[in-house]
């Protein structure tokens, strides 16, 4: 509605101010940037701080579209795939960035300005967003999965959390600490269906049992003993020692549960560390320990790597202003501003070496070291024991993965809610995934897609 108005006024002012611009340097014409982002705490902070940006860039107005992860993904994907041009800045993850970059749906972000210090970005993170040596998105924050645990409960029960626990140990702890009478559950884990929700965690669990999504010939490997063991373990653990109704809980729900003191342990994204350590947002601040995410048969692929990043759709007509904004939002001064306003521990984590070289941050953020170690240790090219044809730990970098993991994720969430038998559903899923792959032509010829799409 307001779009029409802004566009025509944009046209008018561009014409008028073109001459001005030539004289006055980088003054922005009356521009409105539409920014699509996800409702995670760090992005909400970005929205809150964006007034500063508007102040220092008169003429640029920011129009925020903040949505829940699954909804955002739908909106962005349909918009970008149909070249709708609704958004000027989009928030995408490590899955979309390389795929969409390879499709030329994103504007490449080459020649980063010197003061942005692109070399400061973590190598592992930067690689996730790069295709053919072009950077297609800049990292806003990056996360690995880690284990959160309540140090007070562990001390009370005389338990010690190892630096690198196994899932079996976690189960043992959960058994001992599960106390629903007093509102404390042994473990909170993601159960909400979705390839970015329950399947992210489950992907790492399957990896650590040595399972994989596809073999070297792209044959699905879901109906294998590794998957059966891993999924049964997960459902058994969460059903017996988890909060009630776990199939409704995603990242944000579990974060609220843990911060509210309801969970003894939680395995999820390291980015929750900022919230649980902040006394204003968490009832358990100061009582939380952080260690590496659990492994089982293998350590490979037991911790995921995810990067939330900002990118510019190729269809955006305000590419320059959009580029200026995303560089601002991922710059060192921005990180400093967040630290000043919200406390050191709230700095968007995982993107810059300099963040972890900052002693104040390491001191203020007890989860920082384990995040940094995990992020550097992960290897998306070798997510499990056996070789795989894809790249990605909790994701498979092919366009079909969304369909495949959505389906499997839904079935598993159903089983978690007590509908359907795990072994049967894995067998069904195997058949369904096999059909999807056959239909997409992975078996008849050499898959063109995977080659192009793999970063």
């Amino acid at each position: 509605m307001s779009k029409q108005g802004t566009r025509s006024s944009w046209l008018k002012t561009t014409a008028a101010s073109a001459a001005l611009c030539a004289l006055a340097g980088p003054a922005w014409a009356d521009t409105t940037l539409t920014i699509g982002t996800v409702n995670n705490a760090d992005m909400v902070r970005m929205q809150a701080l964006s007034g500063e940006y508007e102040k220092s860039h008169p003429g640029i107005h920011l129009n925020w579209v903040v949505l829940e992860e699954n909804t955002l993904r739908q909106r962005l994907t349909t918009d970008i795939a149909t070249h709708g041009g609704q958004f000027d800045v989009i928030t995408i993850g490590a899955y979309e960035a390389p795929l969409w970059g390879a499709q030329k749906w994103l504007k490449p972000l080459d020649n980063l300005p010197a003061d942005y210090d692109g070399d400061d970005l973590l190598k592992n993170v930067r690689e996730q967003l790069t295709v053919d040596n072009h950077l297609y998105a800049v990292p806003f924050y990056a996360e690995a999965s880690i284990t959160y645990f309540r140090t007070d409960l562990f001390a009370k029960a005389n338990l010690t959390m190892p630096e690198q626990p196994t899932w079996d140990q976690i189960k043992g702890f959960a058994q001992k600490l599960h106390d629903p009478e007093h509102g404390v559950y042994g473990i909170c884990l993601r159960g909400k269906a979705g390839w970015g929700e329950n399947m992210a965690l489950l992907g790492t669990i399957v990896n650590s049992w040595g399972g994989r999504w596809f073999d070297e010939n792209w044959k699905p490997q879901i109906d294998t003993p590794e998957w059966h063991k891993a999924v049964n373990f997960y459902i058994d653990l969460l059903k017996n020692y988890g909060p009630p109704g776990p199939s409704d809980n995603g990242f944000n729900e579990n974060l609220a549960l843990f911060a509210g003191g309801r969970c003894a342990m939680w395995v999820d994204a390291s980015v929750g560390g900022g919230t649980v350590s902040n006394p204003k947002e968490s009832q358990v601040a100061g009582k939380v320990g952080f260690v590496r995410s659990p492994h089982e048969v293998t350590d490979k692929g037991s911790s995921w790597l995810w990067v939330w990043s900002l990118a510019i759709p190729a269809s955006s007509k305000q590419g320059d202003a959009a580029r200026d904004f995303i560089l601002w939002a991922t710059s060192k001064p921005y990180l400093k501003m967040v630290a000043d306003k919200y406390g050191e521990e709230s700095t968007p984590p995982g993107t810059r070496e300099s963040t972890y070289a900052n002693a104040d941050y390491i001191k203020a953020a007890p989860f920082a070291q384990v995040t940094f170690d995990s992020l550097k240790a992960v290897d998306p090219a070798h997510p499990t024991l056996k070789p795989v044809p894809y790249k990605g730990i909790q994701i498979v970098s092919i366009p079909e993965f969304q369909a495949v993991a959505t389906l499997v994720g839904r079935e598993i969430a159903g089983a978690l809610a007590g509908r359907g038998n795990v072994d049967k559903l894995l067998h069904t899923a195997q058949g369904a995934v096999d059909r999807t792959m056959k239909r997409a032509g992975y078996y008849d010829k050499k898959p063109v897609i995977s080659k192009e799409a793999t970063p």
Partner: protein, 291 residues
């Protein structure tokens, strides 16, 4: 001759509207038909190709397909039963004059004017929430463990929400119909010694045959497309416990970005609706023409 000449300009003038309407209808249908024969994944547009009927085979073989058909039938069927039976019951009750009748009737009809998404949210968060919901509070009042409605009884919960929305529609129709019931006939029956049940069975019910037919027809058309309530409350789950055909089409189109399979699914839904319509019209058309 004269008439024909006079008709022509009128016809010409009507043409644009008719053509618009046709385009309105045919273009989307033709596009759906076209896409249903293509392999077309939104995420990989370069790879689209003609695949014949493969999309249909794929849609029929999808693990949730039969569940979704069954869920659709159960959902439509039970909501119809609830609204027709409940609607008749309630409208017979409020047909008797009593103080505050106007207000009661207004309140009875009001849920119909609430948007589906809003009523779904109200039910999910204010009424059926196992921790903070009103029902949980009632349950606790009696010392019982609150029911986690949308997780443990997902389809029943959706049916409840949808019935709550459509019951007012049935009441609206039935109350209006009851007002045209012949009062003299009623008195005559009373004088003959007929009691409540007999009057209801031999006077009211036959009188309501047509309104019932109307309610069933209109509701069936809308209930086949129930989506918002499911999307807001259960998201089709847990598993595929509340996935109906429209929701399955949605998962194909917007969660898996498979335009081909979603188009095929859309056409399947059209065929399904038509089969149902034929049955209903046969069944109800009879009761409409018999009298």
């Amino acid at each position: 001759m004269n008439a024909r000449v006079r008709k022509r300009p009128e016809r010409l003038l009507a043409q644009p509207a008719i053509i618009m309407l046709l385009l309105w209808m045919i273009v989307p249908l033709a596009m759906t038909l076209y896409f249903s024969t293509q392999y077309y994944n939104l995420l990989y547009p370069g790879k689209s190709a003609f695949v014949g009927l493969e999309n249909f085979a794929y849609f029929f073989n999808y693990p949730s397909f039969w569940t979704s058909i069954l869920n659709t039938i159960v959902l439509v069927g039970s909501v119809l039963v609830v609204t027709v039976v409940g609607g008749i019951g309630i409208s017979v009750l409020v047909d008797e004059t009593f103080p505050g009748q106007g207000i009661v009737r207004m309140l009875l009809i009001s849920p119909f004017f609430i948007m589906p998404t809003v009523s779904a949210l109200v039910w999910k968060n204010l009424l059926m929430n196992p921790v903070s919901g009103f029902l949980a509070w009632v349950w606790k009042l009696f010392g019982a463990t609150p029911v986690n409605w949308f997780a443990d009884w997902p389809l029943l919960s959706v049916i409840t929400v949808v019935s709550w929305e459509w019951l007012p529609f049935a009441i609206l129709i039935f109350v209006t119909a009851l007002q045209s019931l012949d009062r003299e006939q009623l008195e005559a029956a009373r004088m003959d010694g007929a009691r409540g049940w007999a009057i209801f069975r031999y006077l009211t019910l036959p009188h309501l045959a047509r309104p019932i037919a109307v309610v069933v027809m209109v509701e069936a058309i809308f209930l086949l497309n129930v989506f918002a309530e499911i999307f807001v409350t259960t998201n089709g789950g847990p598993g595929d416990a509340t996935t109906n055909v429209p929701f399955l089409v949605y998962t194909q189109a917007l969660l898996e970005f498979d335009v081909g399979a979603a188009s095929a699914g859309g056409l399947v839904a059209v065929v399904l609706a038509n089969i149902m319509a034929i049955f209903l019209i046969r069944l109800i058309g009879k009761s409409l023409t018999e009298r």
